[in-house]
């Protein structure tokens, strides 16, 4: 495996154009934290984005940070904290911003902070045929042309190599608290529906964690409301979640279904499910029978269950408008240079 380690976006353009000329296939790589997600793809070289790690501009009063794609999440949040803000990805500190976005990773606080793709306001990326292109703008609102950045987010590096992003950031909460409840995970849906503005409600085997954040008085009030529903067994003001039972498994599937279906779908000892969101992480011993069985149940509900750790790929659910998807891939990466076959439906 060859390694390309560009020092500038011009280097990225050159590398991708060279690859087109020499018929070499590339995998864009950031912090290696989300590489397992995707279908098997044979490539000739890795293109590392980690030298593209500058802050291009950050003005706290704008609540927008413009950074290069190889910026580590931990570094970004250190810089943002000085402005009293955060990018709520909850990804490992060593992950890169580009990797988090390209892989379509979700925050454990998605109930409150929304989808991370919605924080992407502008992208600069090098398309598979070597065009350095930009879409979006450095403003929170913008309806100017086609939002190529929407297609690039979650595309697993198969359409373009992201080199720079403008991200919508948010104020750091003044207070945080996690309440852990023993018992039936079905409590989770009730908490999500009853505690206004909860940051996250995570069900796991025999327990539920409620994460609160905001103004100190607000967190106290939310805690009181939650206490009327159930009595917490533990309280913590540190990180969230307190436990990640799925984390030690060799294979982890990320299930996405309508939220009300979560309870019926999940069983076993190593999982966590986000109430009100419809995401769950399920730990499995291998990518064989159990994963297939899970995917079959998920598919019946119109959902998906890609593996985000270990083998297992994305699964093979139908993709919407397959002809449109194929034409998009062919138009932006006509020679199939970027991780061919890695995406959904082998795109």
């Amino acid at each position: 495996m060859d390694l390309i380690h560009p020092a500038s976006r011009a280097d990225v353009v050159d590398a991708v154009r060279d690859a087109n000329g020499s018929h070499r296939r590339l995998l864009a790589v950031g912090g290696r934290r989300h590489l397992d997600k995707g279908n098997p793809s044979k490539v000739d070289a890795e293109l590392w984005t980690t030298q593209l790690d500058r802050v291009v501009s950050y003005e706290p009063a704008e609540m927008i940070a413009v950074v290069e794609a190889g910026m580590r999440v931990g570094d970004l949040n250190r810089i943002l904290a000085e402005g009293g803000q955060e990018w709520p990805s909850d990804a490992p500190a060593g992950a890169t911003v580009g990797g988090v976005i390209a892989s379509g990773a979700s925050s454990v606080r998605r109930l409150k902070v929304g989808a991370l793709r919605d924080t992407v306001l502008q992208v600069e990326a090098v398309t598979g045929d070597g065009r350095l292109v930009r879409s979006g703008a450095r403003t929170v609102k913008n309806v100017t042309g086609y939002d190529l950045h929407k297609a690039v987010a979650g595309s697993l590096g198969t359409l373009a190599v992201v080199v720079q992003l403008a991200l919508k950031v948010r104020p750091l909460p003044r207070a945080r608290r996690t309440l852990a409840f023993d018992g039936d995970p079905s409590l989770a849906a009730g908490l999500a529906a009853s505690v206004p503005g909860a940051a996250s409600v995570l069900a796991r085997p025999n327990a539920v964690e409620l994460h609160l954040e905001g103004w100190p008085e607000e967190v106290a009030e939310q805690g009181k409301i939650a206490g009327q529903i159930a009595h917490p067994a533990a309280e913590d003001e540190g990180g969230f979640p307190l436990e990640r039972p799925w984390d030690e498994s060799p294979v982890v599937a990320e299930v996405a279904v309508p939220p009300s279906q979560l309870d019926a779908l999940i069983s076993g000892e190593r999982w966590g499910a986000l109430a009100g969101v419809g995401l769950a992480w399920v730990g499995l011993e291998s990518a064989n029978g159990d994963l297939d069985a899970l995917r079959e149940r998920v598919r019946a509900l119109g959902g998906i269950a890609p593996a985000i750790r270990g083998p297992g790929g994305l699964g093979s659910p139908p993709i919407p408008a397959p002809d449109v998807q194929r034409r998009l891939k062919e138009a932006l990466d006509p020679n199939g240079v970027l991780a061919p076959g890695r995406g959904w439906d082998g795109l």
């Binding site: 009293g84 086609y146 607000e218 959902g303 932006l332």
Partner: protein, 487 residues
């Protein structure tokens, strides 16, 4: 040349004659949206189901008619202004809320449902559809999707794209595709994300799966009055810097305050240089904490008076003045041209000063109302089109305002879209390569260019070649441009 008689017969067979219009009055009525751009069309049809939309799109394909989707026609950029022998597909008869599933925090609705009707239907269940454009009484969910509509509350809650889970879309070849999913993630590239904000150029929205947002248990609406525009803008920056993201943060200058007050009798202080409407929401404790920060920031920047809405009626009155501002300017002059620029929040004062200067030089009346929290300015030029030379001055001033915003690091449009009106400004913000990649998106959806042609992208933007093709095609296309378009 299309055989229009044959096309009419096919459309009448599919929809019945009463829902296919081609009389001169109808064609004239549907020749424009709420912008200044006027075009023309061959037919106006009113489908009542996804299947009927499919039939219309197929017939248009067979007879070589361009298809122009249209909701309530409140668009301000000419996005649904038809051109040539267009078939205008109006979705206003598709007004069913098909399914509300609070347990999944979603609802399926037809595209013609007016925004406010949906909000009213959801409210008793404790939810809302967060995007609330000022046109919300009239504008349809389908139109909101097409323009990725915003509104005063998108500062805290996000724009339409953040609130659309899935879409059933009729593609240009008549196929129906479900883009996105009822769950939080979907397989494939995010075509849903591409379609939202695509101004009817990628397909016709036949059904929308919207995300439901829980209504906050408490809210407080405050109105501050400032002796200077600078003080008002300073308060806005201070509020954000202090860590409050209000549910809404709206600024109005004196000109628009006076007009709105005359119209809505909201009790606005007409002697203020600018007013600021701030709404905070959340739990009662969150509202109290935010109120304290907001009031301190406003006073520090010279707020003369604070009015807090005592009840829902007073809150509604404060918002009535804001949301009817565009109607209120009819009291200034018979015509207006409304802009939609976005600039970095920290450069509001500078851009606003520039806008006043441009209006002064062109001897035009300008009033300003804007979503200050997200830097979205809506300068409004009032004029009388019948006075010779006025329209030309308006267009010149408009172009200067656009360039001013772009120079300040802004975008061409915050929530109205590009349509016909601003497509020739696209090269101000995008390179030829950027535009070629965008053309790739469009041709992936619509390889034959049937859907709402000539909108959004400027002439010559082509997928494929690195350089934009210029020449005969562009010249021929420019020939067809309707009156009022900026070329």
């Amino acid at each position: 040349m299309a055989d229009l008689d044959a096309a009419r017969r096919a459309l009448e067979d599919a929809l019945g004659p009463e829902r296919v219009l081609s009389d001169p009055l109808a064609l004239r009525l549907y020749a424009r949206d709420a912008s200044m751009v006027e075009g023309g069309c061959a037919f106006v049809v009113f489908p009542e189901s996804a299947d009927e939309i499919v039939a219309c799109v197929r017939i248009a394909g067979e007879h070589g008619l361009p298809v122009v989707p249209r909701g309530s026609g409140t668009g301000l950029a000419g996005g649904s202004t038809p051109i040539g022998d267009a078939l205008v597909v109006v979705t206003t008869k598709m007004t069913r809320v098909m399914e509300i599933r609070p347990e999944d925090r979603l609802a399926w609705v037809e595209p013609g449902v007016p925004n406010l009707d949906l909000a009213r239907e959801l409210a008793p269940l404790g939810f809302t559809f967060a995007p609330d454009p000022s046109s919300q009484q009239t504008s349809s969910i389908g139109g909101n999707v097409s323009t990725n509509a915003g509104g005063p509350h998108c500062l805290a809650y996000g724009v339409t794209s953040n609130h659309v889970l899935a879409l059933d879309v009729v593609l240009s070849n008549g196929e129906v595709a479900r883009l996105g999913a009822e769950g939080p993630e979907a397989a494939g590239f995010d075509l849903r994300g591409l379609l939202v904000g695509s101004e009817g150029t990628l397909g016709i929205v036949a059904a929308v799966c919207v995300r439901l947002t829980p209504l906050p248990p408490a809210m407080r609406t405050m109105l501050f009055d400032f002796a200077s525009v600078e003080g008002c803008a300073g308060a806005v920056s201070r509020i954000i810097a202090d860590g409050v993201v209000p549910a809404a943060l709206e600024m109005m200058d004196q000109g628009i305050v006076v007009a709105a007050e005359r119209f809505a009798h909201a009790g606005y202080p007409t002697d203020a240089a600018a007013i600021l409407i701030v709404e905070v929401d959340g739990t009662a404790a969150a509202v109290a904490a935010q109120t304290e920060v907001v009031e301190a920031a406003a006073r520090e920047h010279g707020a003369r008076e604070v009015r807090v809405a005592a009840d829902e009626a007073e809150r509604a009155l404060i918002w009535k003045g804001r949301k009817s501002a565009f109607g209120a300017v009819a009291t200034i002059a018979p015509h207006y041209h409304l802009h939609d620029c976005v600039v970095p929040r920290t450069r509001l004062v500078e851009v606003l000063t520039g806008v006043y200067e441009i209006a002064r030089r062109h001897e035009l009346v300008v009033t300003n109302v804007f979503h200050a929290g997200d830097g979205n300015l809506h300068p409004l030029l009032s004029f009388d089109r019948s006075v010779q030379g006025t329209l030309e001055r308006v267009l010149e001033a408009s172009e200067e305002i656009v360039r001013l915003s772009i120079d300040a690091g802004g975008a061409l449009s915050g929530e109205h879209g590009i349509g016909l009106e601003k497509r020739d400004f696209m090269p101000l913000v995008f390179s030829a390569e950027d535009l070629s990649a965008q053309a790739c998106v469009r041709s992936a959806f619509d390889p034959d260019g049937r859907m709402n042609p000539m909108k959004v992208l400027p002439d010559g933007a082509r997928c494929g070649d690195f350089a934009m093709a210029r020449g005969s095609d562009a010249a021929a296309a420019a020939h067809d441009l309707p009156e009022g378009a900026w070329i």
